[in-house]
Subunit: 347 residues, 2 copies
């Protein structure tokens, strides 16, 4: 699988329609085709390596603008993209988890020099930062255990990813992406819609995001040290799903960029910040789970288990901190009306 002539002609991916000149008579499907062709072209150019962001952007566009697309075809491709993204994402997830847990453990166990800068007061105290587990006998073993288990997980995920990239299923997906570049399958009659028809689709994503956030206990998250971390963590799932909704809304605004102009800049930046916060939530929750799993390893020493308990709690604190950050940042975006007012549709 190498670059195709079509793919090399496509504009660089990930920029929405920002560079494309548009007038109001442009059909919505032409604008959407250009966006998807750019993304799919990027995907094909980079083969055999796969950019997970591209998979996510294509999947998001297929979801957001489904009203313009052949429904069965777009549904099927979305499912394939989600499956592939999940599969290829595992290796990276293990790397993130390992890096996060080792960083946490090193910070918990080692004395380092960051303490001086972080200390306030007129006379900087010349003490060193020292974690709670400094010189703890279980720390080196816990570190080795986490490293071994997560490296093994990453290797397995790597093997699975390589197998996937050589499979007929992946080749079929690449063929569909080629179709996306050249001949986007549309819903009958969709060609008549003007470019402004993209906007209500983006509004629907924003509305779904707002509804999902309203179902969350934000007022609890906004209070620091609410005890959610350990005593009542609740379900991580609604927070994790939120990230997908935030990204879909962000990508939808990017696709509608030429229609919205500078009005889209601030909400897009705010959404991007929220997505980063939610990625931290996901990473910390996954790392906490990995620490808890490692503690179930047979025949570890009590000291190792103790250290893993502290590491687990530390990552759950990061989860709570991420929820607090989201809960503190969201009301500004919500009050701004960027996502719920009618300005998206009233050009």
């Amino acid at each position: 699988m190498t670059d195709t002539p079509l793919a090399t002609q496509a504009p660089p991916g990930g920029e929405g329609l920002a560079g494309t000149p548009l007038d109001e008579g442009t059909p919505a499907t032409r604008a959407l085709s250009a966006h998807l062709a750019a993304e799919a072209g990027g995907f094909l150019r980079e083969l055999p390596s796969v950019d997970l962001h591209t998979l996510r952007r294509v999947g998001a566009a297929l979801h957001t603008f489904e009203q313009l697309l052949d429904p069965a075809w777009s549904q099927e491709l979305r499912e394939e993209l989600a499956r592939l993204g999940g599969l290829l994402g595992q290796e990276r997830a293990y790397s993130r988890r390992l890096a996060r847990l080792l960083t946490s453990l090193d910070s918990l166990t080692c004395a380092d020099a960051t303490g001086t800068e972080r200390t306030a007061g007129p006379v900087p105290q010349q003490r060193e930062a020292e974690g709670l587990l400094a010189r703890h006998p279980g720390a080196p073993k816990a570190r080795a255990l986490l490293e071994r288990q997560l490296t093994l997980g990453r290797s397995r995920a790597h093997t699975t990813a390589l197998q996937e990239l050589g499979s007929a299923r992946f080749h079929a997906l690449a063929d569909r992406m080629t179709l996306l570049v050249s001949d986007l399958p549309l819903r009958p009659g969709a060609e008549a819609a003007p470019v402004a028809a993209l906007l209500p689709c983006a509004v629907a994503e924003a509305t779904a995001l707002v509804s999902a956030v309203r179902a969350l206990p934000l007022d609890r998250g906004a209070v620091p040290y609410s005890g959610d971390m350990l005593h009542d963590p609740g379900d991580d799932q609604p927070w994790q799903q939120l990230r997908g909704l935030v990204l879909r809304t962000q990508y939808a605004l990017e696709v509608c960029g030429p229609l919205l102009g500078t009005r889209a800049t601030r909400p897009a930046a705010a959404l991007s910040d929220l997505a980063r916060t939610l990625a931290r939530h996901r990473d910390a929750a996954e790392a906490a789970e990995a620490a808890a799993l490692a503690a179930l390893t047979p025949r570890i020493t009590p000291a190792t288990a103790y250290v893993l308990g502290v590491v687990h709690a530390d990552q759950r604190l990061e989860v709570e901190a991420a929820r607090h950050a989201f809960s503190s940042a969201w009301p500004d975006l919500d009050r701004s009306g960027w996502l719920t007012d009618t300005w998206l549709t009233n050009r």
Copy 2:
């Protein structure tokens, strides 16, 4: 040791001079004598049980108003009071630690019904709060271990306290308290000082408190989730010492109550809140240490050790939360000028 006639004549302790009518010509030493006589009288009346607050209040007054008192005598009595308070406080400290750790552990391990109330959103979710360690196999063992160790510590502290209360040293202290009721040893020439001379003594305590707080990293504490809990807890000692300074200032304002009138009400209430926050800091730090110590018990299972690691981290989070609460509340008191402006001296 039973009630003395003198003691029964003394007004109830712990109220400063609030009830005593004063004019400006009253000697400071007479006001101070009345205060100390009331506290010492309370101490003697309650024998053989000892109220630790009374010990602390007498010790604080001896410190704050030392300029009016026989220095060697008051220094010696203060040291005896501090020693006795430390000794008798151990039993109560073990009880607090045990209660705190069991409450934490039960909350971490049990499902309970508080979740429904704490959940926001239009439709209250009918889920139950569930701690991170719910159904963890190490939880019952960790609970039993903590209960055993801390109950043992409390029993030992109880024995030590009983021995102390029967000792010649304690009888000598009670004799000194009797002297406090009847014949306060004054510094030569102190009788000439008018009652207003109490105020600069209180100001000196407030100034010492402000200096101590300025040396703390309050701007770090004011940021929630700064990572102080586990990664850079620093030294608990300056925070613990702060509690003594807060209480001394609060007690000094109470003694000066009749001179200050309602102006003392708000700072006294603010100081009382801060003292409670710092007591939480102390309790959580001590409980964290007890969990860490329990984890060093030989031959515990890894599951038990893991649970103790989570409990340790949980208590350190409480320490961080207390620092955050203090750091958030202090600036209001500081900006109010109650403690540093000259109003305390400008009647």
